[in-house]
């Protein structure tokens, strides 16, 4: 296999995000990570929905599919089942992944399909210029909530855990080292790995994660340990926000079981021929 470098993963398209957007930092870590994964370049596929974050695939020189709003998990599932040798990433936003696409995301996690989900959580709809999202805090004033939002936010980590993702973690755009480590662990995981990345949208929700500039407000979880949290984990405003890995377990992976059934059937019955296919026990001959 060729030895790959960061540069190999740079596409010829200049990223079109606002200067200062947290997406740049995440892109930088991914470009750093990919050559470290020992996977042939042509086996990477990045699938995304719609949103600022979902432009991500254009800026990497891998196979990529910038699809429609909220549906990346469905496409990624098809890709992985078509060719399990591929390393599939989903890049999504808090709107794309948890609002319109919430159902596909939890079903992906439930099935434990072997893909890595990167949810860029900026707690806002960036691309449509600043409406509140399912992760925005109650009371938030946005274009669509001039009197403040009246909705309780989802906790993406909790949703992924409940839905059954087998690797669940959280990191922060600007915590470069931590982010790299988490991304690496996620990418190397077999089964659905889900990473929530706090991402600053400096245009429509600047400073959403400002409080985490103070390390006292962060609880770094030690890698490898499995923390047990009640269902309100991290929603308790007085406690520090946990960062790190929430779950890392291995159970059977959907796409493997999927192909195992096919292979077993072929082993047992022999690979079907066209002739057998069309024939039938109940057929009769006309002379």
């Amino acid at each position: 296999m060729d030895i790959l470098t960061k540069k190999d993963f740079e596409s010829d398209q200049e990223p079109r995000w606002c200067p200062g957007c947290g997406d740049f930092a995440i892109l930088a870590q991914i470009k750093k990570l990919l050559p470290d994964l020992d996977i042939p370049k042509e086996n990477f596929v990045f699938v995304s929905g719609i949103g600022c974050s979902s432009r991500f695939p254009y800026y990497l020189d891998t196979f990529g599919f910038h699809s429609i709003h909220g549906r990346a998990p469905a496409i990624a599932t098809g890709i992985k089942l078509a060719n399990p040798a591929l390393k599939v990433f989903i890049v999504t936003g808090d709107g794309d992944g948890l609002s319109i696409g919430g159902n596909h995301l939890i079903h992906l996690c439930r099935r434990n399909i072997d893909v890595t989900v990167l949810l860029f959580n900026n707690k806002i709809y960036g691309l449509t210029k600043g409406q509140y999202s399912p992760t925005s805090e109650k009371g938030k004033i946005t274009k669509s909530t001039p009197y403040g939002s009246i909705e309780n936010p989802f906790n993406p980590v909790l949703m992924a855990l409940s839905a059954g993702a087998t690797f669940v973690a959280r990191s922060i755009d600007r915590e470069q080292k931590h982010l790299y480590e988490i991304l690496k662990r996620a990418a190397e995981h077999k089964g659905t790995s889900f990473v929530e990345i706090y991402q600053n949208c400096n245009i429509f929700n600047d400073g959403a994660f400002e409080s985490l500039n103070n390390p006292d407000n962060i609880l770094y979880m030690q890698h490898g340990e499995n923390y047990l949290f009640g269902s309100n984990m991290s929603d308790i405003p007085e406690l520090p926000t946990p960062i790190g890995i929430f779950r890392d377990t291995k159970i059977e992976v959907y796409d493997e079981l999927f192909h195992k059934q096919i292979n077993n059937s072929i082993e047992k019955k022999g690979r079907g021929s066209l002739h057998e296919l069309l024939d039938s026990e109940d057929a009769w001959l006309v002379k």
């Binding site: 695939p57 196979f63 549906r71 890709i79 999927f258 072929i266």
Partner: protein
Amino acid sequence: MKSKDNKILERVTIRFAGDSGDGIQLSGQQFTNTTALAGNDLSTLPDFPAEIRAPAGTLFGVSGFQIQFSSEDIYTPGDQADVLIAFNPAALKASIGGLKHNGILIANSDAFKPRNLKLAGFDHNPLDNGDLKAYQVFSVPITKLTREALQEIDLTSKEKDHSKNFFALGITYWMYSRSLQSTMQWIDKKFQFNEDILEANKLALNAGYNYALSTELFATAYTVHEVKRTPGKYRNINGNEALALGLIAGAYKADKSLFLGAYPITPASDMLHILSRYKNYGVKTFQAEDEIAGIGAALGASFAGDIGVTATSGPGFTLKSEFIDLAVITELPLVVIDIQRAGPSTGMPTKTEQSDLLQALYGRHGEAPVAIVAPNSPADCFNVAFGAIQTALEFNVPVIILSDGNIANGSEPWLIPNTNQLPEIKVEYATKPDEYKPYKRNKATLARQMAIPGMKGFEHRIGGLEKDEKGNVSYDAENHDRMVELRAEKIDRIRPFIKEPELTGLKKGELIIVSWGSTYGPIYTAIEELENQNIKPSWLHLRWLNPMPQILDKVIKNFKKVLVIENNKGQLLRIIRSEYLVDAKGFNKVTGLPFKSIEIVQIVKTLTEN
């Protein structure tokens, strides 16, 4: 067999009707298989009740199965029945309208009890008074006779009653001089793990046969001779089965894995059920969380090198629109199957209709043309599915197959094709990484250059934003206009590659009928009948709805009248009028039922008389 009269008939239609629990579909299926083996041509139509299990004895719960068989080629399950087997009053009520004048009614008189009569809305027993004068009525205490026949068997009465459909089947086998053998074998296999039931069913079948034989209930038995057919191996097949086989065969010939992403919905669920059994053919089936995810996974699979297929019906088809739009702009191969049912909304899910044509053509935002093809009978589904796979892969386009409930569940004999004669499907991949441009096109087909993940050096991005030839996002005004035109022209380029439909009748004249899909059978039959009466309309039955065949353009203006026959309110009609500017008229019906050929005979006669 006693040497009674045995009369030769050319064609017969039988209808079985009873409660959902009466085993109607099973009887019908067995009669069908036996009839097929006897060498008749045949056509069947199961008619499911609206609900899974309506309360026993009610009209909502009536399940029907109609079969026409013949020593000539036939194309419909018959307008009206020669024989009706009614298991209870509700079945009688629901079906008697479809029995011919002087037709044979066999009724299970044991079921005509006050409660059942009331549930069916009778205030008296129709078997007892003169209500049914117009028919030859045979009241047979089927329940009682079945129980008697099973005296020795160690089952409860309720369990024994489950065998009464075999008793009735036995009667019909005698009537049409059928062998019991194939059904006996089927029972042997099906109930091999339940000896009592196995025995009971065999006894009941025999008892029914012997009852008809010995009671001299019927004056005559009948024989329908073998139909003359192209030599070869035949099997009976329904529409959904034929679609499934066509898809698998297409993928096979393209050397691709078939990937079905689907969500259950009547009457398309069987596509998922059937294909999920073909794992040793490498067929992949994925039951998704909804229709959107089903097509999404199929599109993803196509992007990664499989051939993606999704199958659904009305409401699910609507939900897939946004993804079809994406397939149009990304120019990926995809087959979308819509088994149409009566709409709008949930409508009447178990009933047939052809009302999704305009949705298939236009049901997407933006200019988003796709290829559309429709089978005209159950067996035809094989070729249509094969052709859809071929077109999707050779042009890199989504292809929509418009089947319907009538075709999906109906069955007919099918000449099993010679596998060598099926064409190879050529899938082209880009070969030169340095020159690769995702939207560079094949000169003939305009298909864009494909490269799939795993192909070294071909890394590229596609997506729903407008793209330039290199595959980069483009907001350029002229580029967009050009891409819109190219996507449309690509569909036009399919035209030379598909078989033109055959014109029935003369190229010029008084009246031409234009139609598509499942109306084929009734129209074919009507035209035969009209010919007998020396009325000869021309007829063009379309297979591809987009692109439209060239022949239409050539002949349609040669007729004084154009009649478009559809199970909708005039959808192809609009296209024909708009494309060819002829004052075509529609003959339309949305009752959840297929046309009867007699209805078509009548309208044609009306139109040609003056």
